[in-house]
């Protein structure tokens, strides 16, 4: 811009329209109710944008939205959930450049590497889209009990999952933790990478234009420590994925104990590029076993 601007020629050219990065709650993009934001910088120190600074109130709103979305989302057919996850992949693919830019900004990686991450993220949605209607067969089945009974176990989603997205893999890592949670019918409140939240907001925009029902995924940006305790202790949060919770993890696990909230503890640093197993699906499933009397 400055290349075209001279002292004599002070009439501004077209002014670019920078994006306002907001929260994603209940299918809408609200600013934080606190009215606050935090500056987001690239690894090289360059200012990128302001991201909404989610408050505890925003976290509660997100839980309310996720709870409302849970029963209908879980009740969708597995096939339908698979289609919707596939549609998310389509939406991401269509914004490939946009996502790649966000990853370059967030991680400071070369463009080709960022594009690879976007491609991997797209493929991850497709991977989990294929799981939706297979999990029950793999993890459930008939139990050969004694007596005149049919007995079968099947997995069911746990409910509302608070997902602490990895800090250092703001797109591929985020998708890798989010997709398995919602694939099986859970709804999610995602706390995005604190230092690199912008890819998460870009993802929210893709989600909003996919067929994903409102409230199934809610994304909070800001400081993890601001919202994490409220989420971990929230009685209406059924499970925590502490992958990105860092040093807060032990305290959050302790807070979760009060309502027996399920916890996926942070493990060794995951290789987000590797094909996942069931390790991020099973922690957010319950096993329901149904006995049925058999008789004429």
């Amino acid at each position: 811009m400055s290349d075209h601007t001279t002292a004599q020629d002070a009439v501004p050219g077209r002014l670019p329209v920078p994006k306002t990065y907001k929260l994603y709650v209940g299918g809408a993009f609200p600013r934080s109710e606190s009215g606050r934001s935090i500056p987001v910088t690239a690894p090289d120190g360059r200012h990128l944008a302001h991201a909404a600074l989610a408050s505890r109130k925003d976290a509660r709103d997100a839980v309310v939205a996720a709870r409302a979305a849970f029963a209908p989302w879980a009740a969708r057919t597995a096939f339908n959930r698979g289609q919707i996850l596939y549609r998310i992949a389509e939406m991401m693919e269509g914004r490939r450049d946009h996502f790649a830019g966000a990853v370059v900004d967030a991680l400071g990686v070369p463009r080709p590497r960022a594009e690879e991450a976007v491609d991997a993220a797209v493929d991850r949605w497709i991977h989990y889209a294929g799981w939706t209607d297979k999990v029950a067969q793999v993890l459930g089945g008939a139990n050969p009990v004694s007596g005149p009974f049919d007995n079968a176990s099947a997995p069911e989603p746990t409910g509302v999952v608070a997902v602490f997205a990895p800090q250092d893999a703001p797109l591929l890592g985020l998708v890798s933790v989010l997709a398995p949670v919602i694939a099986t019918g859970n709804t999610a409140v995602v706390v995005a990478s604190e230092s690199a939240p912008l890819p998460a907001v870009v993802l929210a925009e893709a989600l909003a234009t996919s067929d994903l029902p409102s409230g199934v995924v809610n994304i909070l940006t800001g400081r993890t420590a601001d919202v994490a305790p409220a989420l971990a202790a929230h009685e209406d949060v059924d499970a925590l994925d502490l992958t990105g919770a860092g040093a807060l993890a032990a305290d959050l696990e302790r807070a979760a104990a009060t309502t027996l909230t399920r916890v996926l503890r942070p493990g060794p640093r995951p290789d987000w590029w590797a094909l996942p197993g069931l390790g991020r699906i099973t922690p957010f499933l319950e096993t329901k076993t149904v006995w049925q009397s058999v008789g004429r």
Binding site: G147, P148, F149, S293, V294, G295, R296
Partner: protein, 318 residues
């Protein structure tokens, strides 16, 4: 008695079916579990002694063979009157149960006693004869002095859903049980549960028979397997309990066929005790249709009295 029979005489088959189909269903596994739990009841010492004597008093001592003869029936009657020659305190059984043509023999042999004469009638066991023939069969037995008639229902009609026909036939048989000179012969209605389509049918057939005026509902002819399973007996006991609650009339239950041992008999009495209670612990309301059971009851009774196990040859084989 409330006007149950009167109101039930009017409706057509559709209403009859709707009414019977509206009865609560029966869960087979649940029935079986309850029976299995009650089978673990321990009836010992003094309780066992009382129960054995009660069981003896409930026996319908039965012979229903093509080879039955007057001699066989006379021997049976003697056994019914005095089951154990060596133990005069053994009470007589409730009744002997014979084919219609042998009723006069049984009546003669049991005259003046408390032992009833029951006769299977209505073209036992299949019931596959014209109604007139079945009624004639019954009339003959009643005329010969039978105090109890064990009729079979038309299972074919029941299974085709013609409840009206089954009902009307029971009413017709009940009418020919009447006597001008006194007490009518009491009517036991055999459902032949082994030929019905499960416990739901047993409950429906029970109510149908009770509405039509049965004094007893009886499980089986003894000619079809399975006969009196404890499961079926439980379902029928629940039916008579509910029928009394609904109408005030107490109907008896007679499991028949397959009850051979004291253990079988005691299991039946436990079912009565824990399902319908003491009101039915009486030969007027519970019978055990059996032929070989009596001797086992006597052997177990002797064991309780003497402390040693006895052998079959110490009891008459009739």
């Amino acid at each position: 008695m409330p006007d149950t029979v009167a109101t039930w005489t009017a409706p057509g088959n559709a209403v009859l079916r709707a009414s019977l189909d509206a009865l609560p269903g029966v869960d087979e596994a649940g029935v079986h579990a309850r029976v299995a739990a009650l089978a673990t009841r321990s009836v010992k010492t003094s309780a066992k002694a009382r129960a054995i004597d009660l069981a003896v008093r409930m026996v319908d001592l039965t012979t229903l063979e093509g080879a039955d003869t007057p001699g066989k029936v006379r021997a049976l009657a003697a056994k019914a009157l005095r089951p154990d020659a060596s133990a005069p305190d053994v009470p007589p059984v409730a009744a002997v149960c014979v084919y219609p043509d042998l009723v006069p023999v049984a009546v003669r042999a049991l005259r003046g006693s408390t032992v009833g004469v029951a006769s299977v009638a209505t073209s036992f066991p299949a019931g596959r004869a014209p109604l007139e023939a079945r009624l004639a069969d019954t009339r003959a037995a009643v005329a010969s002095g039978a105090t109890e008639i064990d009729m079979v229902i038309d299972r074919g009609a029941f299974l085709t859903g013609d409840y009206r026909k089954v009902y009307d036939e029971i009413v017709a048989v009940r009418e020919v049980c009447a006597r001008s000179d006194g007490e009518p012969a009491h009517l036991k209605v055999i459902l032949e549960t082994g030929e019905l389509a499960g416990h739901d049918d047993v409950r429906r057939a029970s109510w149908l028979a009770m509405h039509a005026g049965a004094d007893f509902i009886k499980t089986s002819t003894g000619k079809v397997s399975p006969a009196a399973t404890p499961d079926v007996t439980l379902v029928m006991l629940q039916a008579v309990r509910d029928f009394r609650a609904a109408t005030g009339r107490q109907v008896g239950v007679k499991p028949a066929g397959g009850i051979r041992t004291t253990k079988d008999a005691l299991r039946n009495l436990v079912l009565v005790e824990e399902t319908v209670g003491a009101d039915w612990l009486d030969p007027r309301f519970f019978r055990l249709g059996a032929s070989s059971l009596l001797n086992d009851l006597l052997m177990q009774r002797a064991k309780l009295t003497t402390g040693t196990y006895s052998g079959p040859d110490h009891y008459s084989a009739d």
